[in-house]
Structure formats: C-alpha cells, structure tokens
C-alpha cells in the first residue's frame, strides 16, 4: 500500500530523513515512533504529498508520488484520512459541517452525505452533537470529530500524527479503539506517536525512527 525506497529529505540543509526504506501492506496497522524531531511528521507529510522527497521514491497504492501532478494531489488525498494532534477543525463550522466537508469536496450528493455523516459521527459517539461548534467541545470530543472527518469517506489509508498528544490515557485509549475498528474494516493505519502506553495496549508493527533513519522495524516482544 505504501512503499518507501531510500527516501531522503532535508529542510534548510538540516536532514530530516535519511535513506528511509520500508513497506506497509494493505490493511496493516503500523506505529511510527521515535523521539521528537526523529522525522515522523516529515515522513507522513511525504506520504500525503505535502512535500516531495529530495531523493528516493514513494509509492502509494502502486502510484509513484514523483509522477503525481499538482492537480492530481486532491484526488490522491481523498483516498486518505488525516488526524492531527492539534485537530485542525474549522472553528466557524458546526461538527456536522466539518465532517460533511470531507464528502462535499468530492461531490457526494446531499442525501448520501447526510446519512454517512450522521452514521460516522454516531460511530465515534458524537451523534448527539451534530450542531455543536468545535470550540465548545472537549479535547477528546474534538479529536473524535477529527477522526470522523478522516473516516467518513472510507479512506484506504489513515494517517495520524500524534492523535493522542493532547489527550489523557483514557481518551487516548478511546481514540485507539476507534482506529482499531477502522483498521478492522480494512483501512491501512499509520499512527505516529511517542506514547509508549499506546504501543503496549496494542501489539502491532512498530517502525522506530531516530535522527531520520529507521532504527527498528518489527513487532515488540511480548
């Protein structure tokens, strides 16, 4: 699903990633871990084509991102969902509108859209807060809205960058559960985190980055 070959990326001369290669299969759940500044966010940005690698190749769903034109990027992103530590919700739109926007951009008809948004928000436990403004919600609720927005169009890939960074242990557990169930439905999940608790909760493949290189790739020992 996602393949990286000798990927290098530097920002203003500072190397963020150096010779990174690994593959993530369809339907896999991968923890991307490592200390702050190890290159986790950079790696995710390269996968959703917010940046291009200086060297190396990245294939997403068998498409080489080097050959994806700027005008095709929106269509590439519609097969992905994103969750961020800082939520990135539109503050002037309701919960419903925030989630619906992810479908509106791809021209989903209003009738289908209404059902899908209500279902997805129901699944993350926010069926009763459709008309609430994001700023009136708790951090855990905001992250669930964000997750609903990421999942509403049934993405093939879910990319999450420190989704539990602002949440306590219980709420982190809830978010992880929601991601697990998305993964169970077939979505490939890449979860960047430095939260060791999460790794202990669910033993899945862990790719550990250190100073821009893959330091470890495998399943943690029981």
């Amino acid at each position: 699903m996602i393949e990286l070959y000798h990927v290098c990326k530097a920002y203003n001369g500072w190397p963020a990633l150096h010779d990174v290669s690994f593959k993530i299969d369809k339907g896999e759940f991968v923890f991307l871990t490592g200390p702050s500044g190890a290159g986790k966010t950079t790696l995710l940005r390269l996968i959703f084509r917010a940046d291009a690698p200086d060297e190396g190749q990245i294939l997403v769903n068998d498409r080489n991102l080097l050959h994806v034109r700027e005008s095709e990027v929106p269509y590439l992103r519609r097969m992905m969902g994103f969750v961020f530590q800082d939520f990135r919700l539109l503050p002037k739109k309701t919960v419903y509108e925030n989630v619906a926007l992810a479908l509106k951009v791809s021209g989903v008809p209003e009738g289908v859209l209404r059902v899908r948004v209500a279902e997805t928000l129901g699944a993350v436990g926010l069926g009763h807060k459709l008309d609430a403004m994001p700023t009136t919600l708790s951090a855990g609720e905001q992250q669930r809205v964000c997750l609903a927005r990421a999942l509403v169009n049934d993405p093939q890939i879910l990319l999450a960058d420190e989704p539990t960074g602002n949440l306590d242990a219980d709420l982190s557990g809830e978010i992880l559960e929601l991601m697990k169930s998305a993964n169970a439905r077939g979505t490939t999940v890449v979860l960047a985190t430095h939260n060791r608790e999460l790794l202990k909760r669910w033993r899945r493949r862990v790719v550990r980055l250190e100073q821009g290189r893959v330091a470890e790739d495998g399943y943690p020992e029981a």
């Binding site: 959703f48 005008s71 929106p74 269509y75 590439l76 992103r77 519609r78 992905m80 994103f82 990135r88 919700l89 539109l90 002037k92 926007l101 992810a102 509106k104 951009v105 791809s106 021209g107 008809p109 209003e110 927005r149």
Partner: protein, 279 residues
C-alpha cells in the same frame, strides 16, 4: 447544482463570519474606486469642456463697405465650397448696428455723433470640426484674406493655440495621474486580497488536506471578491452621486469658470464648460 449552491453559500457565509475583514476590504474598495472615479469624472469633464471650447472656433470676415449684395452672395458661395467651412452667417451693416444698440444702449450718443453707420458687414464662419488645428485655421484665414472683398479677418489665434496646448497637457497630466492612481488601486486591492487570504490560511490548509481541488477552494473567494467588489463599486457610485448632488454640478463645483485674459474671444462661451450643463 448542490455544489454551486454550496460555493455561493460559502461565499456569503464567509462575508458574514469575517465582519472586520469584510468591512476593511469593502472600505478599501470603496475609497480606491471613489478616488479613481472622481479623478475620471474631473478629467473627462475638463477634457469635454476644453473640447467644446474648440467647437466654438469662428472666423469673422469684415467686408469692404463698397461690396454689393451680389458680390456678397458670390463670396459666400466661394467660401462655402471650402471643406474647412462648416457654416456661414451673414451679418449686414444694419444688423451689426442693431446688435451694438442692444448690447450698449448707453453709447447711443456716441453713434449719433458719428452720424453714418460705422459698422462693416461681416461673414461669421464656423470652422468644420476636422479643420480645427491652429495650422488649418491659419491656412483658412490666409485664403479669406486674399479675397478682394475682405477688409479684415479676425480670429483668436492665441485662443486656438492655447486650447490645443491645454488639451495636450491635460492628456499627458491625465495619463500620468491616472497611471499612478491605477497602480495604487491595484496595489491596495491586491494587498487587501492577500490579507484576507492570510487571515484564512489555516482554513485553506485544511481544505487542501481533505482533498479539495484548487477550484473548490478558490471559487468561494472569487465569488466573495466579486460580491465585495460590486458592493464597493456601488458604495463609491453612491458617494460620487452624493458628492455631485451636494452642488449644482459635481464635477466643477468650486472650480473657477474659465477667465479670458485678453477678453472673451469671439464665439467662446461659458456654456459647455462642464458637460453637466450640456447634458
């Protein structure tokens, strides 16, 4: 259709929810357009006024006293064939005397002292619009002077040249000021747009992340810009209309009427000084 409705709804929503930015953008558009509009109004009016002064160019041919009425008819026909001549009006000696009596009733005594009618008959020639440059008028005057029936030809050479120079300078000045105004208008509006975009860069970033195409992101901004621009233009039009209504004539209010340093030239009048009077 749903999409179009959504994009339009977005534009209106953005205007509503970003009141301060909207107000600043609206005010900027209004003031820049108002400045440009008032300038254009003044420029066009002054140009129109100068142009209409040019339309008034007339040449007066005073005829010798001994010229018979048949000779007058012949001269008239001859002059009339010249393409530079748009119209000829004959003023007989009696008509000239009567006109003098009407204009200067207090000078009746002067006339009785002279006894005989001292006024010569004349032909007032209106110059055709395409022959109004000072060289062309001078050429016509030379031809008229050469006629044996001509006593004297009067025309305001200085006036014609002054108007021509004034029109030329006005064009250069207008182009200069217009260019500066247009450049500042474009800069100010471009900066206003950049500021509104900057204020909403997070929103744009999020839209891009969830797979919105550039057109999908841009359209509400363009619609919003069109709505604001239209509103700004309407505001500036209204302001200009008020400015015009506040005096009898908006364009030339407070402007001095043209003064004639060497006396009013023949045919020149205040009418047409401002197009609002002729309209």
């Amino acid at each position: 259709m749903t999409r179009l409705r959504y994009l339009l709804h977005e534009a209106v929503d953005n205007i509503k929810s970003n009141r301060t930015t909207t107000f600043v953008a609206l005010a900027t558009t209004t003031f820049t357009m108002l400045a440009m509009g008032v300038f254009l109004l003044l420029y066009l009016n002054v140009q129109e006024a100068l142009g209409s002064l040019r339309e008034e160019i007339k040449v007066i041919v005073y005829l010798r006293d001994a010229v018979s009425s048949q000779a007058v008819a012949r001269v008239r026909a001859e002059i009339g064939r010249d393409p530079a001549v748009a119209g000829i009006e004959y003023v007989s000696r009696e008509q000239a005397l009567a006109a003098f009596r009407v204009q200067f009733p207090s000078e009746e005594r002067l006339l009785s002292g002279l006894g005989d009618n001292p006024f010569p008959a004349s032909l007032v020639i209106k110059v055709s619009p395409t022959y109004r440059s000072s060289e062309q008028v001078r050429e016509l005057v030379q031809k008229l002077n050469a006629l044996s029936e001509t006593e004297e030809v009067l025309y305001s050479q200085d006036w014609i040249e002054n108007v021509a120079v004034a029109l030329r300078s006005l064009k250069v000045l207008g182009l200069g000021i217009g260019a500066v105004l247009a450049a500042s208008m474009v800069t100010i509006l471009a900066n206003t747009i950049r500021l509104t975009l900057h204020a909403r860069r997070d929103e744009i970033e999020i839209m891009k992340l969830i797979g919105a195409t550039t057109a999908f992101i841009k359209t509400p901004f363009v619609l919003e810009g069109a709505l604001l621009g239209g509103a700004g233009a309407l505001c500036s039009l209204e302001a200009r209309a008020r400015f015009a209504r506040s005096s009898s004539c908006g364009a030339c209010s407070g402007w001095p009427r043209p003064s004639w340093p060497s006396g009013r030239p023949s045919g020149a009048s205040d009418a047409g000084w401002c197009s609002c009077q002729t309209a």
